[in-house]
Amino acid sequence: MAHKLKLRIWRGNSADGGLQSVEVEANEGEVVLDVIHRVQAEQMNDLAVRWNCKAGKCGSCSMEINGKPRLACMTQVASFPEDQEITITPLRAFPVIKDLVTDVSFNYKKAMEIPAFVPPVGMKPGEPRMAQVDVERSQEFRKCIECFLCQDTCHVIRDHEENKKSFAGPRFFIRIAELDMHPLDMLRNRKQKAQEEHGLGMCNITKCCTEVCPEHIRITDNAIIPMKERVVDVKYDPLRWLGSVIRKREGIL
């Protein structure tokens, strides 16, 4: 039932900060976000934390709990031993604004760099006919709630600020894959662009992103690897390469 829980919460801003210990009541069934809210209401009124739906659907309350990227609203307090202190820190891959809130604008900039969906010319609203099996591939990626945990955990940028410029990150690889597999999208060469402009090649398939995805999207297996394979095919197989050039000329691919 109710018990006293020990938390260490990172407090501070871009200039300075550190872990602060607090004790707070925790009740049966509560998630980490509940106890953070209790700390906020009773002990630290100005504790900064992002959250919205509290049901794992909006992806706002991303933070690191005992060093692991998690949604605070989907992490049960009971998943840790009662006597163990829980350490809560902001996402490490992004600059801190205040306390548990980080500047995630990197992700919105990258979103802007992915060319938008292009519908078939002349197709009118209401006309599309698509098979369920064909939409399902892209639907898996459209489950993404943009919590950016995959971006946070990806070691290409987690400790390598310098890579951010040339690397879109797993969230945007699945966006590209989604458009690439979209039955109606007409833009060509999305895979090649992922390789050349968005840093697909820098991913070395450690699957960390897949592990932290709260929507259980198979980022690596279903998006990144298939794109990598096909890019490689087109790039290194001379026959395929030639074929793709011819088809492109004829406007088929």
Partner: protein
């Protein structure tokens, strides 16, 4: 101070980045105007993502008997004929186009065997009508429109060299007031949540698309953002709210564990075949079919079960009655001692469909129960109970343009606008509402701006707005905003809840007035930088106005209808069917007056069987409507 003030000039300001706000922004931008979108959260996190079941549109993909007239009838019936007929008509006629156009922006709905958009059954809808994506339809809508806005920005980058030249998102910014000059909208004032620094927007038109008011209540499916900002801003700017007593308690929220109490369990669970039982295993909904619905709903389990296979020759299961009926029934069962261990009832989908199909059609429900409650819904029943979900009441608007009545330059769309849903909203009509009226607000505001000319805000107006933002830091009263919020939620939960009485409502009005006095003493600790206590002090002020408006409207409406149930007036009254409660704000308190409902024109009146209308309308009204038709 004002010399350093951050200033922006736009043609149109959209407050709120949920479905209605984004749809309005797309439309206004496509009309060639410069648009600012303002949201309290990050872009793409709005409460629309929580909408699960689908968007209602009579595309007729699964049953070609469906058309706008059937949808219109269902909507009016669901709202118990208190809807603004013109809004219900526009909504029914235009929602198919709004869904189809999303496909052209990249949305991927679930498909029928022929490859068309699949449609699912939902409470109160005569035919399968809800376009959906599993049980995450709201996310699909938000993402599609978010990506549409990115697409428009990419276009602007190509055309004007600046992605934000025509449409810019101001994320994590709170608007504290709408500014007027010479009786017309001239802009808005607010602050960045991140830094606490202040921002002035000058714009001749403002579209309110701020969503709901659920956080006024203790048990709610709404996120922290649902604090009635648009409702309150409209009141403070001289606009009206219509019928704020009508709050939808969604029949099925989670009830256990306590920390997730209120989180929504989608109506699709019942649409897909879920049944409701009490603690003695009785499928109780058969006891609660009201007379007005008897010819549409099965009164025995055999017929209800057959309906899933043959909808033309059987009546619907009573689990699919409109939400107000189901919520009241569950409330009665629990109060009569037939509830579950944690004060709900049982909702079971595991007996009718296979585990595989449940995981495919209701993936986020499976996930939500498994991770938060340790319940596997493919094997066992869920415990559910009513949760405050949606406010039917809202800003009084002109249906065709979404212009707020009484405030030139102000517009409202989506949940924060009133009238469309009458006394009770049908599931699925919210996502279509925000598309239809979001677009109309965009067009309405664009056409207003083209004739309005430019505006500027006076320094005096700016200084007054700035001093109100500073106030919580300079006070010394010592009231904790979190504590006041909890007290307000207790009052609304206990006294303005699902079942109401005059005594309790009077009590609520007094207690709310008392909190209004104490809010003058709210003191904020810490600085301006991302300070949730500071943020809550403004939200709290808005929620108090909403609670006051709801309680005062509820006490005068002496009948029970839709999302307003009076224990002391348990039936519908033909007198009150003809009246809207209009809330306005006189600077110190909310004042309520009654206003006649607009008269339904003959061509819409004639869509109904007169015998059905007799259940709602007085003989005089019937005669007048028929008479007027000759």
């Amino acid at each position: 101070m004002t010399s350093q003030l951050e200033r922006h000039k736009y043609d149109i300001l959209v407050i709120g980045a949920g479905g209605a706000g984004l749809r309005a922004a797309v439309e206004a931008r496509e009309a060639g105007l410069r648009v600012a979108i303002i949201c309290k959260s990050l872009f793409g996190k709005a409460h629309t993502v929580m909408a699960e079941g689908g968007a209602a549109a009579s595309m007729g993909n699964l049953n070609d008997n469906d058309n706008w007239m059937v949808h219109f009838r269902d909507t009016m019936r669901g709202g118990k004929f208190l809807n603004h007929y013109r809004m219900a008509e526009l909504h029914a006629k235009e929602s198919p186009d709004r869904i189809w156009e999303l496909e052209m922006w990249g949305a991927l709905f679930d498909r029928t065997k022929e490859g068309k958009i699949s449609q699912r059954n939902f409470g109160g809808h005569e035919y399968p009508r809800l376009a959906h994506v599993g049980d995450r339809t709201g996310l699909e809508l938000i993402r599609t429109m978010q990506q549409r806005i990115v697409a428009l920005q990419q276009q602007d980058a190509r055309d004007h060299g600046d992605a934000e030249s025509h449409i810019k998102v101001f994320a994590e910014l709170t608007i504290t007031e709408i500014l007027k000059e010479n009786g017309k909208v001239a802009g808005a004032y607010g602050y960045w949540r991140e830094t606490g620094s202040e921002v002035l927007f000058e714009a001749p038109a403002v579209i309110l698309a701020t969503g709901g008011v659920g956080k006024t209540f203790k048990i709610t499916s709404n996120s922290w953002e649902g604090t009635g900002d648009g409702h309150a801003l409209a009141l403070k700017t001289g606009g009206n709210l219509v019928d704020m007593e009508f709050l939808q308690f969604h029949p099925t929220g989670m009830v256990w564990p306590p920390s997730v109490r209120g989180i929504l369990v989608t109506e699709s669970v019942r649409g897909e075949g879920g049944i409701l039982t009490n603690n003695v295993g009785e499928r109780f909904m058969f006891k609660y079919i009201p007379d007005v619905f008897k010819d549409k709903y099965a009164d025995n389990p055999e017929e209800a079960d057959r309906w899933y296979l043959d909808q033309d020759n059987n009546r619907r299961p009573p689990e699919l009655l409109p939400r107000d009926e189901v919520a009241r029934a569950i409330n009665t069962e629990v109060k009569s001692g037939r509830g579950s261990e944690h004060g709900g009832v049982f909702l079971d989908v595991s007996k009718r469909i296979s585990a595989e199909v449940i995981k495919k059609r209701l993936p986020s429900m499976w996930h939500q129960f498994y991770e938060l409650a340790g319940v596997d819904i493919t094997k066992e029943a869920m415990e559910v109970g009513p949760t405050c979900h949606y406010v039917m009441g809202g800003v009084e608007v002109e249906p065709d343009t979404a212009a707020a009545v009484g405030v030139p330059g102000l517009f409202a769309a989506g949940e924060c606008a009133g009238g469309m849903h009458g006394s009770n909203r049908l599931g699925g009509n919210s996502l279509s509402d925000l598309l239809v009226f979001g677009r109309r607000a965009g067009i309405g505001a664009a056409s207003y701006v083209k004739s309005a000319g430019s505006v500027s805000v006076s320094e005096a107006n700016i200084a007054a707005a700035a001093s109100r933002i500073q106030a919580p830091f300079t006070r010394t009263g010592g009231e904790n905003p979190y504590k006041l919020h909890q007290e307000l939620q207790e009052i609304t939960h206990n006294l303005v809840g699902i079942i109401r009485t005059k005594t309790e409502l009077d009590d609520a009005i007094l207690k709310i007035a008392d909190i209004r006095k104490r809010i003058q003493n709210v003191t904020v600790t810490g600085g301006r930088e991302f300070n949730p206590g500071f943020h809550l002090s403004f939200d709290l002020d808005n929620m108090l106005l909403i609670a006051e408006s709801s309680a005062k409207s509820a006490v005068v409406r002496e009948e029970s209808r839709g999302g307003h149930t009076r224990d002391d007036f348990p039936t519908m009254s033909t007198k009150w069917r003809q009246l809207n409660n209009i809330s306005s704000f006189n600077g110190s308190e909310v004042v309520i007056r009654q206003q006649a409902l607009p008269k339904i024109p003959k061509e819409l009146f004639d869509l109904f069987d007169p015998h059905e209308l007799e259940k709602y309308m007085s003989p005089e009204e019937m005669a007048a409507a028929k008479g007027g038709s000759n």
